[in-house]
Symmetry: C2
Subunit: 431 residues, 2 copies
């Protein structure tokens, strides 16, 4: 086989498994071998139980029932409850927590035949205090966060797919830093039962993989939408290049990738145009941050009141910031967000998709935290589907890309066009 088993895409592995040219145990063993070889450096995993997972793989190899994800191993961000693995939310408060159930997203993937390889490292309660994970391309750099372990594990070929969550930029940013595809669906499309809540109006479940097809394959189960497994797109998309109001914070590698994408896509037949920046929306980055801190201070009320000494300084600061914002200010912020969302609606009549920066540039050094979600906050606030597309590298040899942003609710078309774009920008890779 041309590709090592642990580097197989989920889509390709599913075909081989369906034809019984590959066994679930065989595939999982290849993934575990990679983990054993590399995780001392990458540290993507918060919990593993190889024997248990291998037993499940053997049972699947024997089983007559074959779901859409039959035999595919996946990682689960440690913000999701799992009934058979520790669930620590990246916090010492939950060192010994073993919930008696799976989160809905985990149960749905398992129902379709997928195998939980283990729990991946999250930052503390999916906020900013880093876990131990390193960037697999170079351990001197951060993998990003909060879905740190999910992005690193997928990038390093340890699993073909991992669940992530995004409240600010927690899927798109680590996907960008690790050079994988990161998909944050439209708000409200994946059931959050059993997910540790951070900010109720923002938390969104999604996933990370090495191709658009692979995130879409798992999403088709999570969103119960077989249409996500048929992403053919043969029109000439109208692409709105959107620098965002944080453009001055972009590094040269992002500006270069942005310019290169515009010209390459135009040459490939897309209608590419620069979207005018709406300065009236420039306050929305702060509006998002304020909504998130208010809701986090409510959601984490138990941890804040009973276990304050075990919260990091950075989380404590976030919660304190939330406590300073009055109920009236919060309501005004929610209204501003709704207004901004309405102002952005016409963009999607003019364009089929937007292309925008995912992060300022390559991953920062590991000692500088997990990076800044400023390029993602507004899209999360709008509930828009976002797909990070990796197609370039920066001066340190680290991954660089852009995110495709679609109309809220229009996930199928967003993924199809994102796939088309990635095919153009990275013609030698998996779509």
């Amino acid at each position: 086989m041309a590709v090592e088993l642990n580097r197989l895409s989920a889509t390709r592995a599913a075909q081989l498994l369906a034809r019984r040219e590959l066994g679930a145990e065989q595939l999982l063993r290849a993934c575990f071998a990679r983990i054993e070889q590399r995780d001392e450096t990458v540290r993507a995993w918060a919990a593993l139980d190889k024997d248990q997972a291998l037993a499940q793989a053997r049972a699947l190899d024997q089983s007559a029932t074959r779901g859409v994800l039959h035999g595919l191993p996946f990682g689960v961000k440690d913000m999701f409850a799992t009934c058979d693995l520790p669930t620590r939310y990246g916090s010492p408060i939950y060192e010994n927590h073993r919930p008696p159930m799976d989160a809905a997203a985990v149960a749905l993937c398992r129902e379709a035949g997928a195998i939980v390889a283990g729990k991946t490292v999250t930052t503390e309660f999916a906020t900013f205090q880093p876990g131990p994970t390193r960037n697999p391309h170079n351990p001197a750099y951060t993998p990003g966060g909060s879905s740190s372990g999910s992005a690193a594990a997928v990038a390093d070929g340890m699993v073909p797919f991992a669940l992530g969550t995004q409240t600010a930029g927690s899927i798109v940013r680590p996907a960008a830093y690790c050079g994988v595809v990161g998909y944050k669906p439209s708000f409200g499309r994946v059931a959050r039962a059993g997910l540790k809540s951070l900010a109720d109006s923002l938390d969104t479940i999604g996933g990370l993989a090495r191709s658009v097809d692979d995130v879409a394959l798992f999403a088709s189960v999570l969103m119960r939408d077989p249409g996500l497994r048929e992403l053919d797109y043969d029109a000439r998309p109208r692409i709105g290049m959107y620098r965002t109001l944080q453009w001055r914070h972009t590094q040269p590698e992002t500006r270069e990738a942005y310019a290169r994408a515009a010209s390459t896509l135009s040459r490939a037949g897309a209608h590419v145009a620069e979207l005018e920046l709406p300065p009236e929306l420039c306050a929305l980055v702060q509006v998002h941050a304020d909504i998130m801190s208010v809701e986090a201070a409510q959601s984490l009320a138990f941890e804040r009141t009973r276990h304050a000494a075990q919260l990091s300084g950075s989380l404590q600061a976030l919660l304190d910031a939330g406590a300073q914002i009055s109920a009236d200010e919060h309501r005004a912020n929610l209204a501003r967000a709704a207004q901004g969302r309405a102002q952005a609606e016409p963009w999607f009549e003019q364009y089929d998709i937007l292309l925008a920066p995912s992060a300022s540039g390559e991953a920062p050094f590991i000692d500088q935290g997990t990076g800044d979600p400023q390029f993602c906050r507004v899209w999360t606030l709008f509930g828009a589907p976002c797909v990070h597309l990796p197609f370039d590298t920066g001066p340190q040899g680290l991954p660089v890309g852009l995110q495709a942003v679609g109309r809220p609710g229009d996930d199928r078309r967003t993924l199809a066009i994102a796939r088309w774009i990635l095919n153009v920008l990275r013609p030698d890779g998996d779509a």
Copy 2:
């Protein structure tokens, strides 16, 4: 004292506690005495730990810190996680579940000084399979559901307040059947961390008490809004009487209460007018039911796949119904709901509040289930704040009332006008 301690309103008890004319332990003992006397009949409680609660009350009596809810006992619907009491969600699947945390709503009330008296009975996962609770006015009748124990405990004078949740009609309906005030806030206003999720786009946390002031007092903590403790209203409200498209299912007692309310409020100075019924919205009751069953089938994926034998037939039927609805139909339903919400917006320019049936009539017999949420589904779908107001009795001597429905997001004014209305309709009771 004119009122027995266990019948004190939360607002009045808070005043006496603040003046140290009442102790937290003394109040809690009176509540527990009532529970001991009556719960063999009412069966409102799923879990109690009196010693633990009394120890907390004694600690509060000694404490210098005095929060807004200092020393007030409350009941917690058994859909919320509690760190020191069993959490069973009304299902045998979770017979031995003891989560290591409090739900955010519980933690926020405790932070403000309130004491968890115990867990109140919920129907199975807040759906339709009844628990053991009886209507405290007459045990031959249902207390309604799914917040069965919360409504019954408050109505019976066991606690002044209890947390509830509403996904269809699970606060307003039991409030109506038990004759207490039930408040379902606007969607998204109370953090749901630690609440067992049923339908992500509908689940709403609220509460039940014997007065509007009391639900508002607890809500001021849950929504971090001190304005909810100042509900004076001295204008003449414009009240839209709204029969709802299910009017033909109302029983005579509801029609009489409706007519009496209109004339009494008009005489008291309100501008009362009948709202025209929009027949184009008549499908929304089914749209709500379909959205709820689809989301429930996702949220309960773990229970459905791993513990199917322990689900009731009625829940199994609900989940099966959800599985029959395609992703495309579901998306179309969500769009219809948003459209309906937009069509209802102008109503709140014409009226300060709507008054509508809460249920078809008095509580049904206990062997007929927990009643029908048809009069609540659309308001929950719209995310509108609803306050059930008890002010009448029916032919069986059981409580009857109406619900006040406000503009989504406008909870403060909704509660203030609801309080004004209840004062007019029940001049001898607590507001």
